[in-house]
Symmetry: C2
Subunit: 747 residues, 2 copies
Amino acid sequence: MSHGDVDPELEMTSPHWMHREAESCPRMHTIWRLERWRSSMLLLIGLALCVLRAPGCSATDTDIALDAKATLNHRIQSLDLLVFVFLLALTVLTIWLFKHHRVSWLHETGLAVIYGLIVGAIIRYAGTSATLVHMQVEPQGVPTYSDKLPPDTLWFRYPVNQTNSTKLPEGIKTYAYVFRGQVHDVDENEIDLKATFDPEVFFNIILPPIIFYAGYSLKKKYFFRNLGAILTFAIVGTTLSAFLIGGFMYGCVKLMPNYLSSSFSFLDTLYFGALISPTDPLTILAIFNDLRVDVNLYALVLGESVLNDAVAIVLSGAIQNYGEHYSDTGEFETTAFLRSLSDFFSIFLLSLMIGAAMGCLTALMTKFTRVRDFPLLESALFVLMSYSTFLLAEATELTGVVAVLFCGICQAHYTYNNLSEDSRQRTKQIFELLNFLAENFIFSYIGVSMFTFPKHHFDAGFIITAFICAAIGRAVNVYPLSWLLNIRRKPKISSNFQHMLFFAGLRGAMSFALAIRNTVSDARQTMLTATSLIVIFTVVIQGGAANFLLNWLKIPVGVDDETEQLNNYQVHSSDGYLQDVEGGGVGRGKVRLSGGTDSNLDTSVDGPNGSLGGASSGRRRNSHEKAILARIWGNFDTKYMKPLLTHSRPTLLETLPVCCNPIARLLTTTQQLTQDGSEFRRVDSDSDICIDNDTGNGLSQDATGAVPGSGVGVGRRNSLSRMEILEHVQSPVSTRIRLLGFYGKKL
Amino acid sequence: MSHGDVDPELEMTSPHWMHREAESCPRMHTIWRLERWRSSMLLLIGLALCVLRAPGCSATDTDIALDAKATLNHRIQSLDLLVFVFLLALTVLTIWLFKHHRVSWLHETGLAVIYGLIVGAIIRYAGTSATLVHMQVEPQGVPTYSDKLPPDTLWFRYPVNQTNSTKLPEGIKTYAYVFRGQVHDVDENEIDLKATFDPEVFFNIILPPIIFYAGYSLKKKYFFRNLGAILTFAIVGTTLSAFLIGGFMYGCVKLMPNYLSSSFSFLDTLYFGALISPTDPLTILAIFNDLRVDVNLYALVLGESVLNDAVAIVLSGAIQNYGEHYSDTGEFETTAFLRSLSDFFSIFLLSLMIGAAMGCLTALMTKFTRVRDFPLLESALFVLMSYSTFLLAEATELTGVVAVLFCGICQAHYTYNNLSEDSRQRTKQIFELLNFLAENFIFSYIGVSMFTFPKHHFDAGFIITAFICAAIGRAVNVYPLSWLLNIRRKPKISSNFQHMLFFAGLRGAMSFALAIRNTVSDARQTMLTATSLIVIFTVVIQGGAANFLLNWLKIPVGVDDETEQLNNYQVHSSDGYLQDVEGGGVGRGKVRLSGGTDSNLDTSVDGPNGSLGGASSGRRRNSHEKAILARIWGNFDTKYMKPLLTHSRPTLLETLPVCCNPIARLLTTTQQLTQDGSEFRRVDSDSDICIDNDTGNGLSQDATGAVPGSGVGVGRRNSLSRMEILEHVQSPVSTRIRLLGFYGKKL
C-alpha cells in the first residue's frame, strides 16, 4: 500500500479560492498563521500570479508566497466574520422594523435563519471553487515508529528534493504540520479541512452565555411554583422522548431499503433522539413576552427548555460513552447500560454542584469584601467567577453547560442581592446583550451552514421520518405527562395549554450544536441535515404560527402576573392556597428565633410548597409529601444559606445554636446587624431579577408581601403593582431611583 | 538529504505532559480537535497507561487513544484558561483590597504583572516536562510536486507499514495534518508548536476593545484643547523616537562582540524602535484619575498614548514591508523608503477614514431608525457596527486598530447623542468592562509568559542597552518637542510637567503585542525578552513611583476640571481666551442662520481654536493660522455633520442652501424640528461621555455653557459644577435621573 502514487492536487492559491474560503465559516483564530504584514491588494494578486507563473524555487520566493498566503488567510477570515457581523446587524435592523410595525408572524430568530439561508445560498452559488493542496506522505527512511498514536506533528522538508542533492541546502526549509484529524473519504475530503467552523466554538463560546443568562434571568417565583411539572417535563419527558425517538427512528431506518439501514446503529438513532429532544425557548418566549401570556404557561415552557438543554447534553454524552467505552458490541449490555446511567447521574449532579458551589463562592466574596464600592471591579469579579465555573467543569470533565446554568441560578438567588446597584444593571445588561448576540449568531449560522457546511447529507426518507418522530416525541413528552401531572395538580394544565406546550417544542441552538459536533460518519451527517431542517422549520414556521395558535386555542394573553395570581386565588381554591401558605408559615415559625414577619415573604418566592398554585383536598397527601422536602430546603435556605451568603435577616446569630455564636458572628456582617429590615427588604429581593418588565412587580410584592393570602393583601398588592407597572413603563429608571432611596442614605 | 533517519521522539502522552501543557498559554480554540466525550479521570489515565503498554495496533485502540488525547487537550486548554481567569479574579480582589486600604504604590496593572510572574514561575518550575512527538516525512513514492508553496495539508497513513502488507488494510487510517509554519531549529523546536498562545489573539481579540474604549471614552474637550501638542508628541515624537532608538540600538549592537551583531540588521533595530516607542496610558492615568491631577497633563498623556499606539502599529507595519517587499538588500534605498513612507500615510489615513465612515454610518442608522425604542437592539447594533469596523479594516488590509480608534471617537461624537439613555449606559459599561478585562489579561499574560513562553532569549547586554535607549528615546520625544511647543504655547508645559511626561512613558500592551507577533529569529526573540522586561519594569516600578514623583515635582493634584479652567482664565490670560472664543463665536455667527446661542457651547467642546488654553499675543499669528483649519472643521461639523448625523440644532434645513431644501428635509428628523432646544441640549452633550466621574461636569457645563468666557459665566459654571459633583459622588444615578426628566416626558 505504501507504493501509491504521489497525488498532489495542483489547483493553486489564486485570487479565486478566496471565494471558496468565504463559503466557509469563520475559524475565529488561526493558530497556524505565521505573521501578518500589510501590502496593497494589487501587490498581493501580483504575487499570487507570480507564484503561479514562476516554476523555479528560491527560498525567498517561497517565504514571500507563504506570507502572502497567510495574509490572504487572515483577510478571508476577517471577511467571513464580517459576513456574520453584517448579517447580525441586518437582522437587528429588520427586527426593529418588524417590532416598529408590529409584525408578529416572524421573529428575530426566524429572521436570522432566513437571512442566513439567503446569504448561504449566495455564497454557495456565487463563489467559484478551488481546493486545498494535499500531499500523501510517508515517514522518511525506514519506518520504525511503532506507537499507538500517530505523531503530533509532521516535519516536512520543502522544496521536495526533485533532483536529489543538486539543490543548495539553504534553499530547503522544514515545515511543521500539526495533527488535525482523520481523513474519512479520500476522494471528497478537501473541503473538510478547510471550511469547517470548529463545532467546539458553539460549546465553548456561544452556548455558555446563553445558558448562563437563562439561569440568571429565571423568574424564580414562577419557576418554583411549577417546579414539579417542570422537572417532570424536563427530566422524565426528555429522557422518554429521546428513547422513543431513538426507537422509532431505528425501526423506520431499518425498514428503509437503501444504505441507510446499514449505516445507522441503534446508538446512532438514540443519539439523534437525545439531540432532537431539547426544546428551545427563544422564539416562543419572545412571543409570550410580547403578548403577556399566562405566566404559568410561560414558566412551564421556559423552565422546561432551560432544564432539558442540560439533560440533553448529559444524556448525549452518556450515550456516546456507552458506545465508545462501555459496550464492545454496540448491542444492549446491562453493565454498560448501568455504567452509562451512573455517568449520566454523576455528571449531572457533580456539574450541578460545581455550578452551585461557584455561585455560592461568588456570593461569599461579594458579601465579605466591600468590593461593591467599586462596581467595575465587582462586575469583573462576577463575570470572571461565572466564566471560571464553566472552565472548571470542563477541566474536570464535567459538563460546563450544566454547571453554568446552576451557577447562574445561584448568582441570581444569592450574589445578586450583594451586588451594588450599578453592578446589577451592568451584569444584567451585559449578559442580556451577550445572550442576544450569541442566539442570533447561532441561528444565522444554522441558515448559512445549510448551504456552506460541506458535510450535509440529504436523505428525504430520513428527514421525513425525523420530522414525524420529532413530533411524536414531543407529543409523548407533553400529553401523557400532563395527564399524570393533572392527577395531583389543581390549576390543571388544560388541554389547550397542552396543545400549546406541544406546539412550543421548537428545536434550537442545543440540538444544532450537538448535531454539528460530530460529523464523521454518514449517519451523523444525515442526522445533522435532518436536525438543521427541523430547527429551521420549527423556528420559522412554528415560531411564526405561535401567535395565531394562541388566538385559536383561546389562551389568555395580555394578563400580567398579578391578575393571574388574583384569579388563581379567587377562582380556584383560595382556602387551599391559604392552608398551604399557612402551613409553610407555621413550619417556619417553629424554627425562626426572631425577625418576625420579615422573612415571610420569602415563602411566596422560594417555597415550592405554595408552588402548585392552589391545592385541592385531593392533592393534600401529595402536597404534604412534597412540602416536606420543599419546606426543609426552604427553611434551610432562609435559615442558613441566605444569612450566610447574603446580607438578609435573620442572621446566623439568630438561626444557629448558641454554642456556634463566635462562628456565626464571624459570618455575619455589620451591615446585616445594623440594617433596618424594612428598608433593606427592598434591595434584598429575589424576584426583582426577572426578565424584562417584571421589576416593578417584584418590588411591589416585597413592599406588601408580608401578608400573602389575605384577600386584602392580594388586592392591595395588585393595585400597587399596577401603579408600579405604569411608573415602570413611563420610566425604566424609576425603580432604580427608589432603590437608591436606601442607597443614598448609606453613602 | 532525504535519507535521514526516522527520528520519532517516543516520549508519549502520559498524565505527565499535562503539566507541560499547562505551562503553555491558552490557545483559545483548537481547530484540530476531533470530538469530545466525557469519561472519568481514572478511566482516562487507565487508557493512557494502556496505550503505553500495549504494543499492538488495532484501529479501535488508536481511535480510543486519539479520543482520550483530544479530551485531554480540551481539559488542558480549559485549565490554561482557568489559570488566567483565576489570576484575573485574584487581581480584582487584591485591587479592591489596595483601593480599600488606599495603597497607592502599586496599581492594578502592576499587580497583574506580578501575579503573572509568580504563577508563571510556579508553572515553570513545578511542571514536569514532556515533549510532542515529531516525525520527519517525505512524499510518498516519487516526488513530482513542484509548486512554490508547500502543500496545505499532508495526509499520513497510520499505522506505518512496519511489515509492509501483512497488516489488514482496514486497520490503517489516513490522518490529516495542517500546515503550521516553518521549523527553524530542528533541535529545540518541539515547544514551538505546542505552547504558543497565538499572538494574533492579542491583535484580534484583546487590543480592539482596549483601543475602541480609548477612543470612545476620550475627554474630547481637553483632547482638542491640547490637540497641537498631542499630535506633535504622538506623530512626530513617536517617529523620531523610533528612528532614534533604532539608530542607537544598531550602533550599540554592532559594538557588541558576540553573535548579536551579526543577527541584527538595521531594520530589526528600527522595528524595535517602533515597537518600544508607544506609551501605555493605563497605570499612569489610573493614578492621575485617583489624584485628580491637572487636566491638561492628563489630556496630554492620554491623547499621546492613544494616538501613538496607532502610529506605532502602522509604522512597524511599514518597516516590515520595507524589509520584506520593497528592499532587496536591506540597506537604504530611496524608492523602497518612499514606498514604505507612502504605505505609512495611506494605511493610516485610509484606516482613519474607514473608522470614521463606519462611525458615521452607525450615527445615521441610529438617527433615522427609531431603534432607540428597543435599547437592546440598539446596543447590539452599536457593538456589531463597531466590531465590523475592525473586521472591515482587516479584510481590506488596513489596520483594524487604527480604524477602531477613530470609529470610537466618531461613535462618541455623533452616535452617542442618538442613543437612548439605556444604551448609553450599557455601551459605556460594557466597553469599560471589556477594556478592564482585556488590559488585565494582557498584563497577566506578560507576567506569565516571562517564564512559560519558549522563545525568550536573554542577553544582558542587549537588555541593558534597550533600557537605556528606551529612556533616551522617551527623553528625545518629550524635551525637545516640549521646547518647540512652548515657543508658541502660553500655558507652557513647565519643566516639572516635562519630567512627569518623561516619567509617564510606561510601555504596555501595544509594545508587547508587537514584540510577540514575530519571534522567528534570534534577533526577534531577544527583542521580545527586552520588551517584556521593559514593560514589566516600567509598569511596576515607574507606575509605583508615579505617586511619589507627582509629590516631588509638586504637580498640582486634587484639582478638578473647573478649578483648572478658572485658574487658567484668571491667571494666565483671560483676555486672550476671551478673544479666541469670541473669534470663534463670530466666525460661527456668520454662518448660523438661526438657533441663537444654543450651539455656542459646542465651541468649548469641539473648537480646537480655544484649545491651547489661553493665548498670548505672541501666539496670535500661529493661532490664527491654526484657527482657520480648526474653525473650518468646527464650522463644518456644526453646520453639516452634526445636523446630518445627530438630532442637534441647527438643522440642515437652516444650514444648507435653499435649493437643497428637499434633500435637507429628508435628512432632518421630526424630532430635530420639533424639539425644544433647551431641553434637548441636555441630552445632546458630547462632554457627557467622559471617563469616570466627569459626567456631572459635562452636564453642568451644558446647563450654563451658553455664556463662555464671561467672568460671571465661569464663576457660575464652577459653583454649579461643584454642586453637581457632590451630587454625583453621593449617588451615581442622579445624573441619569436628571436626564430622564426629559426622557419621561417623551414617553
